[in-house]
């Protein structure tokens, strides 16, 4: 890894020799083995890998949701590793946004209230112009007063995206955002995520196992057995699929 000073300034999130070990003794599982990676600002990065490869663990560690066993994680200028609860809370308020596979909207709140929830938790007022832009981009203007139960899956996930975008975080982590959607709704959401990177300079890190979804990213990082094994720039569904196939075979043999 030949990182220059200039590149460092460009990194929105960074993992330095991150190890994650669960359990001990016989039951010990090594989820990450010395992963180092940078996620540049203003880019859409996908993390891929077969199940059990550690891709979700990597994302949880990057986002400060899980602690690392060794190594450090940085988001922007902040070193996440070693932060206490209040530091992590501040990090989540200011620097990080989440999009979940299960959408995770509060069923009791309207779409608009859900979108504004992170800001109201932090006690901040939304920037009206930015809020307007977000609403226009997600195309939910006529659905703002609906409850999640009255929205389709795709619409719910777009609300979740808007919620992540509205506080302009340093980086948005998306965990299988299309995993619960049909292919059309999935495409809508992915287009929308790519647009927010291209047009508004948002940084997004997405975990997925779907090659079509990964093809929307600017860059794909491949994990297997807790290590980064490959990388693709400007991927297409075909190149991603090919890489995955190559990864699967030794993994099968390994088993």
């Amino acid at each position: 890894m030949t990182a220059t000073v200039g590149q460092q300034a460009q990194a929105a999130a960074r993992a330095n020799d991150v190890w994650k070990v669960y359990g001990s003794g016989e039951a010990q599982v090594v989820a990450l083995r010395g992963v180092s990676a940078e996620f540049e600002r203003g880019r859409f990065t996908a993390i891929m890998g077969p199940s059990g490869s550690g891709k979700s663990t990597l994302m949880h560690c990057l986002a400060g949701l899980d602690s690392v066993t060794r190594g450090t994680v940085e988001i922007g200028e902040t070193t996440v590793t070693g932060l206490g609860d209040s530091g992590l809370t501040k990090l989540r308020r200011d620097k990080v946004g989440f999009i979940f596979q299960q959408f995770n909207l509060l069923p009791t709140l309207t779409a608009k209230e859900n979108i504004l929830l992170p800001l109201s938790i932090a006690g901040r007022k939304p920037d009206p112009a930015w809020y307007d832009t977000v609403i226009t981009t997600v195309g939910l203007r006529d659905r703002l007063d609906h409850r999640p139960a009255q929205l389709s899956g795709g619409q719910q996930q777009r609300v979740a995206c808007a919620r992540a975008l509205v506080s302009r975080p340093e980086v948005i982590f998306a965990d299988e955002p299309t995993g619960n959607l049909d292919s059309r709704s999935g495409a809508e959401v992915l287009n929308f995520l790519r647009d927010s990177v291209r047009e508004h300079g948002q940084t997004i890190v997405m975990v997925t196992h779907d090659p079509t979804a990964a093809a929307y990213a600017d860059r794909v990082v491949f994990l297997a057995d807790g290590e980064i094994v490959s990388e693709l720039i400007e991927p297409t569904a075909e190149t991603v699929l090919d890489t995955m196939k190559k990864l699967d075979t030794p993994a099968e043999v390994g088993n």
């Binding site: 989540r92 989440f98 979940f100 069923p107 932090a122």
Partner: protein, 851 residues
């Protein structure tokens, strides 16, 4: 954040209603107690203000023995008639009237039974003419010795009319005497009595003789001031003229003093009600804690999301506490309102029971409002703190994972439970062994509280084996097996729900153990010791014990087959300045021959007119020995000096002090209260009993019973006490039932998907309901088992501590315990109805799609 809290609160209103209901019931108890005692207090104020409204200044002799509300009625000493003339001489006195006014005039109703009172006195008075307050409604004033007037309320209860012969028992004659009812009197404002007091008006000489025991004496002198003379100035003038031996008060003071002594009793009553409210609220706390815990568990994902998008731990605590405050506030308002209703209802019932007490308007004292909100809010928030803390510890990562709350180990909670139980046991030991240094009651109560909380903490551990054992009974069917597994799958939740039921049942069981042991011990002692085949006694209804004509004693003695007869008298007296219960026996020899007393010093078979006997305990504590002289002041008469001539061994059946029977004429009740008849060898109870019955024809307050019936009758007052406590504690059990319903309802909600799955693979509706019912029954029977065990432990501890007080036998109410367990099973079935119906109605498709 506030908005999110309130929206989620609204969405879960049904779940919170039941836990709120627990607070509502507890708060209702608190505010009801305050409203009831406040209303009654003001009613008494106005009753006495009315009763004394015709009096400007009142003169009475100082009572010779001060008696407080708990010990009985205060009896004023009579004052000589000459005092009336001396008062008349005081300038500024318009009129002074000698008044006879004493408790103990008991009218025999048209059904031949004595009209009883449950509180207000039964006054015998002299007729002093009509006034603005008191007027004759029918007939005329009493003129001859055998004529009386009754107040309208009494005439109505006794069902007697003007012109009829009416039998009356008086303070100095517990033998029926017939009078002609010549008039019925009532009070201004169309009231039949003041405050439900029964009144019999005699001519003055008859009232003096029968109610005060001496001619030419009065209870008090009532004075009207001349125009322009203030009551206070006149009071001071009269007081100066008469000297220090008299109590001279204005009418207002008399009213206030009379009301104050009743209110003292009311405040005691209030404390008892608040004690039961505290029990209800303790159970409510368990319920709220459980509800909030379950709600937090169910919202894990939602709370984790909040954390993931930036909420701090403190904000999560805040949101849960805010919910608790909202629930507490609403519940307090509802509880206050319900309490006002209940207080008003109870006051109304009390007024009826007390013979028509005119109630003052229902008022809501500040204490009721403050108490309700303080209690409602504090309890709810305190109970929600633990769940709130747990909520704040949910890691944000839980938002991304399937919620599988791992079974947390029970080590910590068990250690904490053992510690708290230990503290409770130590406190109980200190309190019960009398080493608490003056804080006995609070130490014992603290010990009980700690014991409850400690056992509740230990419950999760205990629940595992017990619940699986209980559930094994139902395991023969698939729904039964599923229900059993469900009740064991969250030990904390099951435990807390069961612990709520435990509190109520433990208290009922504990009280039952104590009272049954007391009953058993005393009965056994009485049966072993009292060597009298027949006993004359009556059932005490009001403050005055029933009494009978002492002439009966001599006549009973003369009956064939009777060997010995003893009449027992009793009163509070002042001995060397200290209040002491004193007794007198018509035949002192009975002490040894009927009550099995043993002499420890001197002679206890004889008693001269200036001699007295004491029990060994009393003699030790007062430093008396044979030959000591003591000064005794009885309710009436002058202070007299007695010499101790004998000391008998103390037992449950002996009195502290026995005076010669000649002293009994100066007791507040100068007639015997109980009579004991010992038969000659060979005489049969069935032969003698009817003859004694005939002798008692003119003493309708009492009857003659054989010894066993007498002992049973004496113990029946304990049964009444037990029943009252059970009714009051039933509320705590009702709240616990709400807790079971709530827990099940929340569990059903939580397992919607699972229930749908079970239905999808073929579980019938009925089987689903059976499964839920088994879970409920297992939880409630477990709670009842715990309660019976803990209650028996507490009761046994108290009984052990009371060994020296004569409670020697531990009597375990096996029947009652069985009833509790059966009741718990029924409670479980009842509590399961709503959740089970809900579970059975789950839409199979919707449930499987449910997230």
């Amino acid at each position: 954040m506030f908005r999110a809290t309130f929206k989620s609160l609204l969405a879960r209103k049904v779940r919170l209603i039941l836990s709120g209901l627990a607070v509502v019931l507890g708060v209702m108890f608190v505010s009801g107690a305050f409203v009831l005692t406040d209303t009654l207090g003001r009613s008494f104020d106005s009753v006495f203000a009315d009763g004394f409204s015709e009096i400007d200044v009142n003169v009475a002799a100082k009572p010779k023995v001060q008696v407080n509300e708990m010990e009985g009625e205060q009896t004023a000493a009579p004052l000589p008639a000459a005092v009336v003339d001396r008062v008349k001489q005081v300038p500024g006195v318009a009129s002074a009237t000698g008044v006879v006014n004493a408790d103990g005039a008991r009218v025999i109703g048209s059904n031949g039974k004595v009209v009883t009172s449950f509180g207000p006195p039964q006054l015998g008075e002299n007729w002093t003419g009509e006034s603005d307050l008191l007027q004759l409604r029918e007939g005329r004033a009493p003129q001859a010795e055998d004529e009386i007037v009754l107040n309208k309320a009494l005439a109505t209860t006794a069902k007697v009319q003007v012109g009829q012969k009416v039998g009356v028992l008086t303070a100095f004659e517990s033998k029926k005497r017939d009078f002609t009812l010549v008039g019925i009197a009532g009070y201004s404002g169309d009231r039949d009595s003041i405050g439900g007091v029964n009144e019999v008006f005699f001519t003055t000489p008859v009232a003096q003789r029968l109610m005060l025991g001496e001619p030419d004496t009065f209870s008090s002198v009532t004075v009207r001031a001349a125009g322009g003379v203030s009551d206070e100035a006149l009071r001071d003038d009269v007081a100066r003229t008469l000297g220090a031996d008299f109590e001279v008060k204005t009418g207002e003071q008399v009213a206030a003093d009379a009301a104050a002594s009743l209110k003292e009793g009311l405040s005691f009553f209030n404390k008892i009600l608040l004690g039961f409210a505290a029990v209800a609220l303790l159970v409510g706390t368990f319920l709220i804690l459980n509800t909030f815990s379950i709600i937090v568990a169910q919202r894990t994902r939602e709370l984790a999301l909040m954390r993931a998008i930036g909420a701090s731990g403190r904000q999560i605590i805040g949101s849960v506490v805010l919910e608790a405050i909202a629930v507490g506030l609403i519940a307090s308002v509802l509880g206050l309102a319900a309490g006002i209703g209940v207080g008003a209802l109870l006051a109304f019932l009390f007024g009826k029971l007390a013979g028509g007490l005119t109630l003052a308007g229902i008022g809501v004292p500040a204490a009721a409002v403050i108490g309700s909100f303080a209690v409602g809010l504090v309890i709810t928030v305190v109970a929600a703190l633990l769940p709130a803390l747990r909520a704040s510890r949910i890691p944000p990562i839980a938002a991304m994972q399937d919620v599988a709350t791992p079974d947390r180990p029970l080590t910590k909670i068990t250690v904490a439970g053992a510690l708290v139980t230990g503290v409770g046991a130590v406190l109980l030991f200190l309190g019960l062994s009398g080493n608490a240094g003056g804080q006995t009651l609070s130490t014992i109560l603290g010990g009980v509280l700690f014991a409850f909380i400690g056992v509740a903490l230990l419950t999760p551990l205990i629940s595992r084996p017990v619940v699986s054992l209980l559930g094994a009974i139902f395991s023969w069917s698939v729904p039964g097996k599923l229900g059993r597994l469900n009740s064991g799958r969250n030990p904390r939740r099951t435990a807390l729900t069961a612990a709520a039921l435990m509190v109520g049942i433990a208290l009922v069981t504990g009280v039952t153990v104590i009272l049954d042991s007391a009953k058993g011990s005393l009965s056994a002692l009485a049966q072993d010791t009292i060597k009298a085949e027949l006993v004359i006694a009556g059932q005490q209804g009001g403050p005055r014990p029933p009494s009978f004509d002492p002439g009966v004693l001599d006549r009973a003695k003369a009956l064939p087959g009777v060997r010995m007869v003893d009449g027992e008298y009793g009163d509070m007296a002042r001995i060397d300045g200290e209040s002491t219960w004193v007794a007198a026996s018509s035949d002192v020899a009975s002490l040894r021959q009927i009550f099995g007393a043993k002499a420890t010093a001197g002679d206890i078979d004889r008693l001269g007119p200036t001699q007295m006997l004491a029990s060994s305990d009393t003699a030790t504590s007062r430093g008396w020995s044979v030959g000591s002289t003591v000064k005794v002041q009885l309710t009436r008469g002058e202070e007299r000096t007695y010499t101790i001539s004998g000391i008998y061994e103390s037992s449950q059946l002996t009195n502290p002090v026995t005076l010669p029977v000649t002293a009994a004429k100066d007791f507040a009740i100068p007639q015997p209260i109980q009579g004991f008849i010992q038969l000659a060898p060979g005489a049969r109870v069935a032969d003698v009993q009817p003859q004694v019955e005939t002798l008692l024809a003119d003493s309708p307050e009492v009857s003659v019973a054989d010894r066993d019936a007498f002992i049973k009758q004496q113990m029946s007052s304990l049964d009444g006490l037990l029943r009252m406590i059970q009714i009051l504690l039933a509320l705590a059990i009702v709240i616990a039932v709400l807790g079971i319903i709530n827990t099940l309802a929340l569990s059903v909600l939580e397992r919607t998907r699972e229930l749908g799955l079970l239905r999808a693979i073929g579980l019938r509706r009925g089987q689903t309901m059976g499964m839920i019912t088994v879970e409920a029954v297992v939880i409630s029977v477990f709670g009842a088992l715990l309660g019976v065990a803990v209650g028996t432990g507490l009761g046994a501890a108290v009984v052990e501590a009371l060994k020296d007080e004569g409670i020697t036998d531990l009597v375990l109410p096996w029947g009652q315990m069985g009833v509790f367990l059966g009741l718990a099973a029924i409670i479980g079935v009842v509590a399961a109805v709503l959740p089970a119906v809900r579970a059975a109605r789950i839409n199979v498709l919707g449930a499987i799609a449910h997230d």
